[in-house]
């Protein structure tokens, strides 16, 4: 979060806050994470429950199979680990290290 005001020219903002689409892609929201998911692909059964439940679409899927976690947007909520079937236990939450 920038600390200094960007000195936006408010006189140019008369039509309200409108931006081009998909700008959220450029706004990385994973940097306040306290824990990160660790994915063990050897244990994953590709049930896709983690993909379904992830609030930030951070579970990366290709060809119907989980291929990784997008940590640029993952906030470490742990939902993926919570819904991962205990018999697989492919996702565990670990302490974030920076």
């Amino acid at each position: 979060m920038p600390a200094e005001p960007a000195a936006l020219p408010w006189r140019d903002l008369d039509a309200g806050p409108v931006l081009p689409g998909e700008t959220s892609r450029r706004f990385l929201t994973g940097d306040w994470r306290e824990r990160r998911p660790r994915l063990d692909l050897d244990r994953c059964v590709h049930c896709l429950l983690c993909w379904l439940y992830c609030p930030d679409t951070s579970v990366l899927v290709a060809g119907g199979r989980v291929v990784g976690i997008d940590l640029d947007y993952c906030k470490g909520c742990g939902v993926c680990a919570a819904v991962c079937p205990p018999s697989a236990a492919a996702i565990t939450m670990v302490e974030e290290e920076r």
Partner: protein, 395 residues
């Protein structure tokens, strides 16, 4: 009389708003019925059923949804209207800020009404005063004619000032009372409001050029600049209202007052200042009469948001005493919203009039003859810091 006047017709305030809407033929109306504004949408739905308007009508499951649908439709470039009252306006509250923050020219009719508890369906200004800081222009009708006129004027004000507009008509006193109204020809109304000015609206500029993000996150480095721009737009709305009222009067051959109507102020020693339909009653009651402390004029504001401070200062520049009549309480112990703002507008003047704030008519309580006597007596008494409660035992 200009040829744009088609006829003289008996209309209730709600009828008049619905008639204006039919003539404007907005792109979208989204609404949820609530007393006393229900008939606005009922009448308008009948016009639609009879094929007299081509508006897309969205009957929603709540007022929160109604105003949300208005926000979406307006952001897409549609000319949009809705109507509500009381708890319905309160339920819209969250989205009111989104409409103004996104700079959407939505027009809303508010048949003003008390807020619960206790439950009360009758008229006062508690509901609209609850949204006075939401970034909406607020215009107050004094008659059914004005409810009709302001409904038409509001379209141009909203689209030119790029802020949403509430047209407030006193619940039951105007919303349900029949008055003779000069109705303009459909063509004249359409010519005045013109085509929706969506082509100049930035939200549609991206059409065909990919998706748009409307209402993105703005962090501390950007949010305040948007709010500064909105504050500027509200300041400019005062000029827009003045200019559009002049255009309205020229187009329809009318004499709608700009921001306020002052009467009997010549040689007056004191003035009553208030909003809405009560002004006609007190003007009649005071006409030609002098109190022990001199003559009393009446100032009725049509514009409350933005606050027409300069016009108020000018209107009150020659009176020694002002009694502000508030039909809502701020519960701050300082008085009602109108009284507090009048005091603020007068502060710093070389010789400001002394102001007494009166809370009256909450929940539809009538003004009685002895209340008018009390009002007259207030001009002789020392002003008190807090409000005087008119019509309750011991004030």
């Amino acid at each position: 009389m200009s040829t744009v006047v088609a006829r003289r017709q008996g209309l209730t305030g709600n009828d008049a708003v619905a008639l204006a809407w039919r003539q404007i033929n907005p792109d979208v109306v989204a609404a949820y019925p609530i007393t006393p504004s229900t008939q606005v949408v009922e009448r308008f739905a009948r016009y639609l059923a009879d094929g007299e308007a081509t508006t897309e009508f969205v009957p929603t499951e709540s007022e929160h949804s109604a105003i949300s649908a208005c926000v979406g439709a307006s952001a897409a470039g549609a000319r949009v209207m809705t109507a509500t009252s009381s708890q319905g306006l309160a339920l819209m509250h969250e989205v009111l800020y989104i409409a103004s923050g996104l700079r959407l020219p939505i027009v809303m009719a508010v048949a003003t009404r008390a807020l619960s508890a206790p439950l009360n369906i009758h008229g006062d200004h508690s509901d609209v005063m609850g949204s006075r800081d939401a970034g909406w222009v607020q215009l107050y009708a004094g008659t059914v004619q004005e409810a009709y006129d302001l409904s038409i004027l509001a379209v141009r004000v909203a689209e030119r000032a790029r802020v949403p507009v509430m047209v407030c008509l006193d619940g039951f006193t105007l919303s349900h009372s029949l008055e003779p109204v000069l109705v303009y020809a459909d063509d004249a109304v359409r010519a005045f409001v013109g085509e929706a000015r969506t082509s100049g609206y930035r939200l549609l500029d991206g059409e065909g050029a990919g998706p748009l993000t409307v209402g993105p996150l703005a962090l501390p480095d950007a949010y305040m600049d948007f709010r500064r721009a909105l504050a500027n737009a509200m300041g400019r709305a005062l000029e827009v209202i003045a200019g559009e009222t002049a255009a309205f009067n020229a187009h329809f051959g009318r004499d709608l007052p700009v921001h306020l109507e002052a009467s009997g102020l010549e040689e007056a020693d004191g003035a009553l200042l208030l909003l809405g339909s009560t002004a006609d009653v007190v003007r009649e009651a005071l006409a030609g009469r002098s109190s022990a402390s001199g003559r009393i004029g009446v100032v009725r504001l049509l514009t409350f948001r933005p606050f027409p401070a300069e016009a108020v200062r000018q209107a009150l520049s020659h009176v020694a005493r002002v009694v502000v009549m508030d039909r809502a309480d701020s519960l701050s112990t300082l008085g009602g919203p109108l009284g507090i703002e009048v005091r603020a507008a007068l502060y710093g003047q070389a010789f400001p009039p002394a102001v007494t704030d009166v809370i009256y008519g909450l929940g539809g309580r009538e003004l009685r003859a002895r209340d008018l006597e009390r009002l007259r007596a207030l001009f002789q008494e020392e002003p008190v810091p807090g409000p005087v409660y008119l019509g309750v035992e011991d004030g």
